[in-house]
Amino acid sequence: MAEEKKKLDKLCHLIDNIIIEHKNVQVPNKDVAKCPQKQTVQKNLPKSTPQTPPPVNSVNSAGKSREEIELERKARKQAKKVKKKGGDGNEDSKQQQTGKGKTEDKEGQEETSKPKKTVKVDKTEKDVKKETNKPNKTVKVDKVKPAPTPATSVPGKKEENKKKTPKEPAQEKQQQTQGSEVGGDAADGATGGKSKAELKRERREKQEAQRLAKMAAKTKAVEEKQPKKKVETHADKKSSTVEKKKKSLGDAGKSGKEKSGDKKPTKRRIPLLGHLTQPALQAPPAPVNSEIIHPAVRTLGIKMKDRVIDGSTARVISTLVALKKLINDYQTPESCDLSRDLAEKLAPNVEYLNACRPQAVAMDNAIRFLKHKVNSIAPNMPEGQAKDELRTAIEEYIKENITLASSTIASHAASLMQPNDVILTFGYSGLVCEMVEAACKDGNIVNVVVADSPQPPSGLAMVQRLAGLQVPTYYRLITDITNVMDKVTKVVVEAEAVMMNGAIQGLCGTTSLALAAATHHKPFIVLCHTYKFCNNDLTDSIVVNELGDADKVVWGPKGSNAGLLAGWQETRNLNVVSLVYDVTPASLVTVLVTEQSVLPTSAVPVIIRRNYADVLGQD
């Protein structure tokens, strides 16, 4: 009977201690990290002792050994559980300690009037003293069974996990209210009822805590939706959590801006150009050793996105080379047709390149050619032979349509030149350089005026190359060409693509040259490889185009006008647009120089039908 009584007493004490545990005083971190449970247990004791001094003491003296063993066992269990939770457990307990410390303090402040509270204040002092002691003593002194405490501390931790928001006061309040709640109950249970005012206050605090918890949960949900949410799991970094979350919310850093930049164009419509996609600021995600996207393709995509590889010819050659690598590394899986499977494997790679930077017409044509070639491989052809065939097809395509064609075009065009011609050209153009070279070899020294747009200044590279050829070179802005047109004899430009109706797609700015040439009655000569002819018929530059990096336009100017429009993405009324291509109507083009011969623009559909009908097809 006595033993049963003692057990009952123990249970009562356990319950008390469980409740009181939540109101524990702050404990130094190191100690907590090492043996959280022991410290909580340690704290429990001092609190319980003043509250119910006689039974505790008696129990202490009587059942030490068995309790001691049980306590130790349960302490070990607790320690294991804490280890499993790892950092969480530490933080939680730390939070518990800190929160409880604050609650304890607040409680102490609140309840100074009543004697129990003064006792509690004493408790805190004692707690502090006890905490400074080493944990060695705790085992012997411990009475409280740690078994229930994990259960209660776990929900406590969970609650704290849930409420782990940057609002420190909220947490404090919550724990305070928890504590006060608990404390109220404990006080009720232990001392037999507080005054009504106290109860009311505690109820109000509970409600306040619940309301704050709700708000905290809401903000947490909102933050989880934020693009860059860092889940902070360290309690001692509470303040830094606040700072970091503020930073991620309000940061104008690239990642945040990209996200907002990505969202904004879909929400706001640039007048007339809303259908054009904004330039990709980040390459679409693809792991480095992806099975779908070949690493060569991935590298190429990033280079194209960053404009390291620019200009249709360069892009075509590099695309074909990358796809050649893909074909090299490709192995037909069993029971699969090479042609069909390879076509399927090619598709996502092509899409990836497209997503990095919208495909140029020339690239499109080259890839169509490749697909056509892949489709035409006989099903029973051995893999090695098929791959060889594809490889040689690619190499021949590049050789015929680009390398040899370029030199033919150059010689055709050079034959149009006369000594002391002044040629106006736009931006960087490999073909025009080759033409000038060929003309110099023929003995016709030509002067070249390079017109250039400020962003991107591709003409600088052109000027350097021409100066290397010992050709008199002039460099002017695109806005300045009317002042030069008197002296110019011919305008020569390279095209990015030629449309079926004879319209020329070139880099943005070629039409200004075309118009100036027409106004001043000078011939406008366009150089173009035939593989760039396409079946589209464009009449203006707005329907099909590519948007360039608008920020380069904003930061382009030197001096006081640089960056005036830096906040344009946030300004509702303001748009900054940088077009990459423009379309020159066929009426402004005098003559088209291709590797076939020097043609009028009306000959374009004839060439398409003759040479590229199977590739370009009937789309």
Binding site: I270, P454, R476, C508, G559, S578
Partner: protein, 343 residues
């Protein structure tokens, strides 16, 4: 404030310290008023000579600065008019009061034209001239407002308007129109000065839907534009304009797509010079990015002005009314005295 002096004024012009043509006009008028009020002269002819000296000096040092020269011409006209009305309206005018046809059309190309003879010393000439100049000053200050008011009658709802570079008048024009109309404005940035950025910023601040484009994109966008409205530096006597770089390309594109081109200009920009002969080149360093050195054999230069021929301009929006380019010559006779022009 120190009394305005010719030298100070010319230095200020040279160092490009004026923020706009309007301020140049106002300050040159102040200078002229000062000369009329304080310089020692007895007869009208002496005054005319004094005033014309300003013109000669400015044109010697800064021939492209037409605004001060136009102000001088206007002042000369005012003096001649006041003189003749003082004397009782006896002059070599037609009975109808307009200058005779030969006077209008024939300007002596050799220059050094003789000023009209105003030899009589009239006591109240000074006061009357000052009064007339004060009236002219009031007109000058109102010209912004008078031009802006015409905005509503030129723009309809949902229009797309193209403009280029910074012009305070065009800004006022569009701002005023935006109060009653809703339209989009596309601004070409205007390399190498890039004043278009400033214009776009100001327009968007006023609440107008603005898009900034590069100069090379003017032709592509022109197909969707309803009107082009620009400002200018000078209006030439043939009806063409001389303005910042890029306007010629803009005007050609507008002509190609048959888009009307309006030029907002106050009367003091109307000049008697005829051609585009005065154009000078600035330093090429403005257009080369700072970190890319070009080989020294390359010739780099930037012109200051662009010439737009009269056939590309639809109409001039001025203080009083719209003027067609073909009618500019007639307007000039109202502004300036045909005989007083110094080439």
């Amino acid at each position: 404030m120190a009394p305005p002096s010719k030298q100070d004024f010319i230095n200020k012009l040279r160092l490009e310290k004026f923020e706009s043509e309007q301020s140049k006009a106002e300050e040159s008028l102040a200078l002229l008023e000062h000369i009329v009020a304080n310089a020692s002269w007895q007869t009208g002819s002496e005054l005319l000579t004094l005033l014309r000296n300003v013109d000669i000096e400015v044109s010697a040092k800064l021939p492209w600065e037409t605004t001060p020269r136009n102000m001088v011409q206007r002042a000369l006209k005012i003096v001649v008019d006041e003189y003749s009305s003082c004397r009782g309206g006896v002059s070599d005018m037609n009975t109808s009061g307009h200058p005779s046809f030969p006077q209008v059309t024939m300007v002596d190309p050799t220059g050094g034209v003789e000023l009209p003879k105003c030899d009589q010393a009239l006591p109240d000439l000074r006061d009357r001239v000052l009064e007339a100049l004060a009236e002219y000053r009031a007109e000058l200050e109102q010209s912004d407002e008078l031009i802006a008011v015409q905005g509503e009658s030129k723009i309809h709802n949902d229009e797309v308007i193209l403009t280029f570079d910074w012009c305070g008048l065009v800004l006022a024009f569009l701002t005023r129109a935006a109060k009653r109309r809703h339209f989009h404005v596309i601004v070409a940035e205007g390399a190498p000065t890039y004043q278009g950025h400033r214009m776009a910023a100001s327009l968007s601040r006023v609440g107008i839907q603005t898009t900034l484009i590069q100069d090379c994109a003017v032709f592509p966008m022109m197909s969707r534009v309803n009107k082009v409205i620009i400002g200018t530096h000078t209006v030439l006597s043939n009806g063409g304009i001389k303005t910042d770089l890029g306007a010629a390309a803009l005007a050609s594109a507008a002509k190609f797509y048959s888009v009307p081109l309006y030029v907002c200009t106050p009367t003091y920009k109307f000049s008697r010079i005829s051609g585009e002969e005065v154009n000078h080149c600035g330093s090429g360093s403005a257009i080369i990015p700072t970190n890319t050195p070009l080989p020294s054999s390359v010739n780099v230069a930037v012109s200051r002005f662009d010439y737009v021929p009269p056939e590309n301009v639809t109409s001039f929006i001025t203080n009083n009314r719209g003027i067609a380019p073909s009618y500019v010559y007639r307007h000039l006779t109202e502004l300036y005295d045909p005989a007083a022009y110094h080439v």
